[in-house]
Symmetry: C2
Subunit: 146 residues, 2 copies
Amino acid sequence: MNCSQRLTNEEAFEKLQVALKSQGARLTSPRKLILEAALKSKKPFSAEALLSVLKSQADLATIYRNLGFFNEIGLISRVDIGGETAVYEVSSKNENHHHHYFVCKSCGKTETLESCSMTAVEAILKKKGFKNLSHRLEFTGLCASC
Amino acid sequence: MNCSQRLTNEEAFEKLQVALKSQGARLTSPRKLILEAALKSKKPFSAEALLSVLKSQADLATIYRNLGFFNEIGLISRVDIGGETAVYEVSSKNENHHHHYFVCKSCGKTETLESCSMTAVEAILKKKGFKNLSHRLEFTGLCASC
DNA sequence: TTAGCTGCAAAGTATTTGCAGTGGT
DNA sequence: ACCACTGCAAATACTTTGCAGCTAA
């Protein structure tokens, strides 16, 4: 079972068009390239990671600005795993979704987990040779006063 | 059911003594104060938060260094919720433990969750007036090559 | 044509590091 | 006395912001 159903490219661009129109924003070349690069990524990515894919096709400041914009319109989510650097991922179809990752405490490598079952995930990780497993569950949303 | 059984003060200081001895480190006044402040905190805390509790009793650099030290010896864990700022918490008794939080996407307020059941947690959060709930599961450990 | 957007550079934060002096053991 | 640790300041890393020119609508 896969419970992290990401938006498809078509759904993403459609959502983008709606947002652009509703707030008088524009579909520029860097904006398009950044979203395409984000959609292409199989795992959570940092701003720097997109820069190295896009090379001189987009400025780092522009990447940050657009990741912020996409985050606001719900196209991608800032997920903050790993620590030093902010990490983003393409949003899921439904609001009440799951995100599953494995993060190595030593080298910082991250891996996206496909299964939805806690025990299945643990079995898969152990089979792959991961050790010292621990996990953490984080709920996000809006608190009563927001 | 409460599955985030934190170390007690005695257990924490005992663990510290063992680590200090095993690597020739010393129990200094700032180190002791920082750990005490960490133990006192009911929820995940940032380095700045400890500074404002400790005022001029410890330098910010010293706080960062000691949080790193405590993290290495397994006394506290760096958990990186919320984004901009690194957040730490006192470790749990058993290695394979859970951490449950709620983080408000708007104001950044965090709240520690006591229950271990996913559905129970959701029910509690809804009852408290939290909206737009989403969640994320993160596994940490060492990857095969580390 | 007219704003929104971009690239560049400069400014902010959060965190780390170098160093000379301090203090545990 | 020795050497780990501290405070202070400077450095670094990541991200945001100001601004003048560019460009989508």
